[in-house]
Subunit: 201 residues, 4 copies
DNA sequence: AATGAATGAGGGTTCATTCAT
DNA sequence: AATGAATGAACCCTCATTCAT
């Protein structure tokens, strides 16, 4: 039968399944995504997929945690400031650099961006399996950005809302226009405009 | 059930169905929404719903067009400028006033806002029944805003991207935080910051 | 749903489904019985069956209630004594006559007997969907028989246990031996032996 | 705990598996019992269980034979009469003593009793893996009891049916009432009533 | 002795839809 | 205008079992 492709390395399958899941969930969201589609997309049977993750919801959460972990390693690992007290000591330039790096990374993996875009909205509904994940994530994002802006703008919490909203909004519109503009450039300009107010404060 | 007997001449049942549909689609999106749930939410049978709209996709489009029509009547009807050539003649103050009115109206019907939020993202996928609707709507929004900004900012198209993104982003974050901040106030401030660059142009 | 006559003229399909369900559940019990088998046994599709009953558990309960209703109409309807106070006024001869009629009827519908035999035991487990049904039924049987024996034997409750147990036991053994003996005759003799103690009381 | 097993040598795992199996099968029967549940109930993997027994059916039969063996050792071992010809020579007092001991033992291990109760009924169906086991067991029980009663009652075979039925019936009702009465006492009394006829014979 | 991987078959249930009434 | 019946397809998930390790 199949000699080469059938028996692969041990941990190969689960991560290949997660990769396929990102693609599919990124297109149809959680409700439009089916295990069967995922299974046949990576050449496994449906129970074969469930053998590794147990449940549809578990697949979703595994995908989210995997992406978050990789993002953390790629962007945030180098940043030594994790204690909340220290976040406010970050310079404005470093703040921009950090968020710029995040947006830049996002612009290079649009399928992951698409997944987060759609799930973030779907998960507003409390019974959604990723509700908790995104609620926490959103709260944390607003808090961290606000802390970073502490002492640099007049109303850090309000500015955090605007910065986070602008970032999410630009990413969504970017995807909606089939990536027809330079996401990073637009974001850089927008951030400049938003933070320019500091001068007058 | 007793209420159903005193039906008005023009059956208000279709519009009551649409109201329920807004609620449900706004929570679970198109894929997570089922006709059965819609039917029992407004006390009709499933074929009873289909009798009026024929198809699940048709329900979705009917909802979208109904909302768009009502929005148009509420916000845009008073604006005399519809011809593309005339849009650029609108004053910056009127431009802000118009968008402000839209955001203000949206903030008063969060369930409709939720519906547009989720569908806008879901419909990125070309096979989604509302793909065409949202693609056109998005293109039109960017074009109209850009035309309005013509002659008022240095890069109207770029600014349109930022304004549209900021609006969408704020609305999403507003919903995600259980409407924990004043959407209109944040939007007003953000628009001021974005359009402030005009001074230096 | 709550209707006296199950068999509607237009479509006897629900009652034909119940008849097939008796057969199958009587052989494999609740856990060994599948809707698919039931469906193809009476020429319907699986959703066709579920259209009428909604759920596997609901089928089971519908079967039980249908049988109980028919038994009530066939055996107990003629008995005017239903008020607990009146049960003890029943003569011993009438008591025997009533239970005899029940056993006689059971001996004529072994498939229904088989169904009750297996479910009665399966339902000892509290999570079984028929647990409540059989628990109540068992309590009621012991209570009713005890009341009937009031004033006729020295220990009515103990005798009720023996009578009920003997009846159930004989029916089970009868089924287990492929109905190799005369159930009614054995029951008549056994009851005579059990109630003979009255002489010495 | 009861140190009943004598295979204490290396691996008591098989017997621990059997103990868990008794519990589960006793609650849900053969059809409602799954290897997975059994496995996780005793901290082994599914193939781990199958490694010892090979098959689901084999587990069932191993359980039955193990119980039968222990019952034989506990109750019947002391009885010297095994040759059919000798059974009829047993005194009536010894007959009662022997069956009393069996019922007494059963009353002390209700989970095993439950298992036999449910399987005995389930196995009426010829395709059940324990059909043969219980059919033989039932035939043997009726024959052995009949032989024991030979020369002591007028119709030994009929009386055997009643004695066996009464025993099984009392055990079932006892379990159904959450063991609310004294099983052994009820059985003793019932047997007295049934065998009282000897006086008139 | 014991496990992780994988699978074919089947479980109950929901889905959007058609059709006769 | 509205319903009950019915269905094919798809849903997530569990089953007992095999096999390489």
């Amino acid at each position: 039968m199949i000699e080469a492709t059938k028996r692969t390395r041990l941990s190969d399958r689960p991560s290949r399944i997660l990769d396929s899941a990102i693609e599919i969930i990124g297109q149809r969201g959680y409700y439009g995504f089916s295990i069967k589609e995922l299974a046949s997309a990576c050449g496994v049977t449906v129970p074969g997929v469930l053998h590794h993750f147990g449940t549809k919801d578990a697949i979703l959460l595994a995908v989210l945690k995997d992406i978050e972990r990789r993002d953390y390693e790629a962007v945030w690992k180098g940043v030594p400031l994790t204690a909340p007290a220290k976040l406010s000591e970050m310079s404005l330039a470093n703040f921009k650099r950090l968020l710029h790096a995040t947006v830049d990374r996002n612009s290079q993996q649009p399928n992951i961006l698409r997944l987060f875009s759609i799930l973030r909205i779907e998960a507003h509904y409390p019974e959604h399996p990723a509700f908790e994940f995104f609620y926490q994530r959103n709260v944390r994002a607003l808090r961290v950005v606000a802390e970073m802006l502490e002492g640099k703008v007049t109303a850090p919490k309000d500015m955090a809302i605007k910065v986070v909203s602008m970032t999410a909004g630009l990413e969504d519109v970017w995807l909606a226009t089939s990536m027809a503009f330079d996401l990073v450039k637009q974001w850089d300009e927008a951030i400049e405009m938003l933070l320019h107010e500091k001068v007058f404060a």
